[in-house]
Symmetry: C2
């Protein structure tokens, strides 16, 4: 499916549903750089998400510098080995575990751009950050997919918030909440697998199937 690999090379402008129904996590990149103009489109999309009281409490640290990406990569690898892998083993399918493992070991940091999405607790109350920052992050991921870029929602590196903040130089009121790799996918991604509506939708009260 051209859409998933790189629709923009074909000059297409995909429809909303083409993009949203084809979103996949990409954790391996082909090494080509990503133009700032494309990163700007992704961040601009992110800033169009809703936020509590329209306070827009988001901060994006766009990391392209080799040493900075390396430091985030080292942190991700350490947290994966210490906390992520032990928790995920036996829970993920072998295929997904391999993919996440390769991503955490080297893949994510190999993306030419890492966008660290942060919440600013001096702008909005800390309790409202998640419902503003993750919609913005999702817009960023979808925009990347629309442009043919690969990306993935990762939060592993935020477990050690102090180290990540130290790498980024963020003050205490700026809370890193997601690390989003952006790059060109190393290989085409297949269709997503999702639970059907009959399993997840209820009518009026929990327990009454909606479908």
């Amino acid at each position: 499916m051209g859409l998933v690999t790189n629709p923009n090379e074909e000059g297409t402008d995909p429809t909303f549903f083409e993009v949203v129904l084809a979103q996949r996590a990409c954790r391996q990149f082909d090494g080509r750089p990503v133009d700032d103009a494309l990163v700007a489109r992704c961040i601009s999309a992110a800033t169009h998400a809703p936020s509590a009281e329209n306070l827009q409490p988001w901060v994006f640290v766009v990391v392209g510098d080799d040493a900075q990406r390396s430091a985030i990569g080292d942190l991700t690898r350490r947290l994966w080995r210490e906390a992520g892998r032990p928790m995920s083993e036996g829970r993920l399918t072998p295929q997904l575990l391999d993919d996440v493992d390769a991503g955490a070991e080297t893949g994510v940091a190999s993306a030419p751009v890492l966008v660290v999405v942060c919440g600013d607790s001096s702008v909005a109350h800390r309790s409202t950050l998640a419902s503003s920052i993750y919609p913005a992050t999702q817009n960023l991921l979808l925009a990347a997919n629309a442009l043919g870029l690969g990306s993935a929602m990762t939060t592993l590196a935020t477990i050690d918030e102090a180290t990540l903040a130290s790498i980024l130089g963020t003050p205490d009121h700026i809370r890193p909440m997601a690390v989003i790799p952006l790059g060109w996918p190393a290989r085409p991604l297949g269709p997503p697998r999702r639970r059907p509506l009959s399993e997840v939708a209820h009518r009026d009260r929990f327990g009454t199937s909606w479908t």
Copy 2:
């Protein structure tokens, strides 16, 4: 802008960027019902969001029943008067405060459908729910916009989680995290207002402007 009011009446299939850059909160609806087929497209979009370990820990309670919507409306109104309005007064612009006030008093509950998006802590660790549930919720909101429906991210009713859970009949491990009204907008919505990239994007480290 036809897109924002109801593109599907014109038979259009808007592009991704048309939808994402035009998203607005809608808190007043015109009373016409919303077909289940459209609700299904919104929830299907939601289920295509990323989630931690692809666990898809989402539950959607689709509330169309009058008494149930009324109960959620009463809860929303009470929490708005007790907690929301006192906090928002003096912080929001008068225009936004009026809009949110009308929405919380009667508007949200007047939507023909309220989708309560919940996280299932028996499927995924509670600490990972926000980074899965809010991207799914954002997909739902964007899909609604793509279909010409009005919607808004609201979390006010979840402050009193126990009462909301009691209305919905959700067990302890199902945590209501957002209440999304779906309906046809009572009036066209203007373009969104957003902070420019120069204010929110940093290069490599916090404090160095990206643009």
